[in-house]
């Protein structure tokens, strides 16, 4: 069942188009990574999905609620972690959370506040003013705020931006726990490792939706599988001879490595090795060239720029 559905979402600001014709679905309990460069429309998309701003055209539904109508009901079932935490700095962490929890009729605010202060490891500093908190603590408090009413859907906008590696790691652990609880999570991020680690599917955006799939499918769609044959030495003419083989699409040399693109990598790999040996090559190892999510991302974003 889809929890988030966006249909041709478009948002213009005067003459600038921030988001154009973006459509996608997110299933229940899924963590969707939303990747894109600065100014790609990630925050604008989140704001439209969270009912903070209205689309210029198109529409979205989140947990069965239209995001461009009366949003009070929508806001009872979503949690939003904004790009900047934004707290009442003179109030304590507990008082801040109590304030936000006080808007939801279906929860016991005091119990929920204590639960999430503890979950985020902030219970010992609950009585301290937020102004005294580090960025990582504020970010954890912001996540507690987004969760205090037990939302079904969570929007996280750049949750680990500016955090030190340890704080970012802890934060990812929290997101993983939330995912295991069955919450649907929409994660906007610059951090490709984070996206690959946490998300089943990845959307790459740059005003428009450039791609949306699992990292593996994106890899296969963008880069054909390539076999890397490590040789003891590269005999003269070997690269050209291999390239002429009927099941080989292309071949290139990289030092003593031969990088070969096959029509069918699974089926043709043994035959390739046999023919290389026949041509006088001494095969040391055979592997498949791996493409990182960064390769996919850069390829998509740069292709769109061109």
């Amino acid at each position: 069942m889809n929890v988030i559905e966006a249909r041709s979402l478009t948002r213009r600001f005067d003459s600038t188009t921030a988001v154009e014709d973006v459509s996608f679905e997110v299933g229940e309990g899924e963590v969707l990574g939303f990747l894109g460069p600065n100014g790609a429309g990630k925050t604008t998309t989140i704001r439209m999905l969270a009912g903070i701003i209205a689309p210029t055209s198109g529409y979205a539904t989140v947990a069965g609620q239209r995001t461009d109508g009366d949003v009070a009901a929508l806001h009872e079932v979503i949690g939003l972690l904004t790009e900047t935490p934004g707290f009442y700095e003179k109030l304590t962490a507990r008082r801040n959370l109590e304030f936000y929890a006080g808007f939801y009729p279906h929860i016991d605010p005091a119990a929920q506040v204590e639960k999430y202060l503890k979950m985020m490891g902030l219970d010992e500093r609950a009585g301290s003013r937020v102004a005294t908190f580090s960025k990582g603590m504020k970010q954890r408090l912001a996540l507690a705020r987004a969760l205090v009413h037990e939302p079904k859907v969570l929007f996280l906008d750049e949750p680990t931006a500016g955090l030190d590696p340890e704080a970012a790691h802890d934060f990812r652990e929290l997101v993983r726990r939330l995912s295991h609880e069955g919450r649907t999570i929409f994660l906007s991020t610059h951090n490709l490792t984070e996206a690959e680690e946490l998300c089943r599917r990845i959307a790459v955006v740059k005003t428009r939706l450039l791609a949306l799939d699992t990292p593996e499918n994106l890899r296969q769609g963008l880069f054909r599988r390539q076999v890397v044959v490590q040789l003891a030495a590269l005999p003269a003419g070997m690269t050209e001879d291999v390239a002429k083989l009927p099941f080989v699409r292309s071949a290139r040399a990289d030092g003593t490595r031969l990088i070969v693109q096959l029509a069918d990598a699974e089926h043709d790999r043994p035959e390739l090795v046999r023919r290389i040996v026949e041509l006088g090559g001494q095969v040391m190892s055979v592997s498949e060239e791996a493409h990182s999510l960064e390769d996919i991302y850069l390829s998509l974003v740069h292709e769109d720029t061109r």
Partner: protein, 270 residues
């Protein structure tokens, strides 16, 4: 509108206020400064210009309106009539208190949320714009009109201590109660709603204060009409005026909701 959500906003605003010494002191002391100023003006005017006031055509007109509203005043000695006239004016002068507090503290209400970036998470909760704005207005208006009541009590005490106890039956009348129990809350809410509108349209604190001062000016005019004696409010006209102010409160709340452009606030405040 949901009363629980409005109460939640009021409680938060008060918690923030209690941690802000400058605003807290302003709300605590400004009303007494206004009161002291009013009292000194009345005493000086009565002491130095009692007879001159009686001879002045403008004040004669005001006195005749006072006597028309309260015929018993005609029985008082001439200088006591002047005393009642002057002491009564301070009632309306005290209604300036919520307006003065609003110029300062309501200006901050939305601007502060913008600057601390706390508005976007707040708008992601189920709170409605009308609840948010009314909550913010009431959070300022309630202490403001409570301070007005305290000042009215202190003023009566000052009148007694300064030797004018005999004038009290002509000052603390039905109209006096209506001014403070009915009109003061209405004017306080109106001042703060207008202040919140100014704050939601302003770019920074200074801009907000200038805007709010401009917006609440009509309230000064309303009070000035009474202070100058151009119009003398009877209990009936005070009740009608108070009802009118509450109707205006409701209209201004609707206007505030329309003028509160959450999209431009969120998008333009980076």
């Amino acid at each position: 509108m949901n009363a629980r959500r409005i109460r939640n906003i009021i409680r938060k605003e008060w918690a923030v206020l209690s941690g802000d010494a400058t605003t807290f002191l302003l709300i605590a002391f400004l009303p007494f400064l206004i009161l002291a100023e009013g009292f000194v003006v009345v005493r000086v005017a009565a002491a130095a210009g009692g007879q001159a006031i009686l001879d002045n055509a403008f004040f004669q007109g005001a006195l005749s309106k006072l006597i028309a509203a309260q015929p018993a005043v005609a029985e008082l000695p001439p200088l006591d009539r002047v005393g009642v006239l002057l002491v009564t004016q301070v009632n309306f002068f005290l209604l300036l208190i919520p307006t003065m507090i609003a110029i300062y503290s309501a200006s901050y209400s939305i601007v502060e949320e913008k600057l601390s970036r706390s508005l976007e998470p707040l708008l992601a909760t189920p709170v409605r714009t009308s609840e948010l704005l009314l909550g913010k207005a009431l959070a300022g208006a309630i202490p403001a009109f409570l301070m007005t009541w305290v000042c009215a009590g202190v003023y009566v005490l000052a009148v007694v201590i300064s030797g004018w106890a005999r004038l009290l039956p002509y000052v603390v009348t039905a109209n006096w109660y209506l001014d403070f129990l009915l009109l003061a809350p209405g004017i306080a809410v109106l001042s703060f709603l207008l202040g919140v509108i100014g704050s939601s349209r302003a770019k920074d604190f200074r801009n907000a204060q200038n805007l709010v001062l401009f917006i609440v000016f009509p309230i000064f005019a309303l009070i000035g009409v009474q202070i100058t004696g151009v119009v003398w409010f009877t209990p009936l006209t005070t009740v009608l005026l108070a009802v009118g102010v509450f109707v205006v409160d409701a209209i201004v709340l609707r206007l505030a909701v329309r003028l509160f452009q959450r999209e431009s606030i969120i998008i333009r405040w980076r």
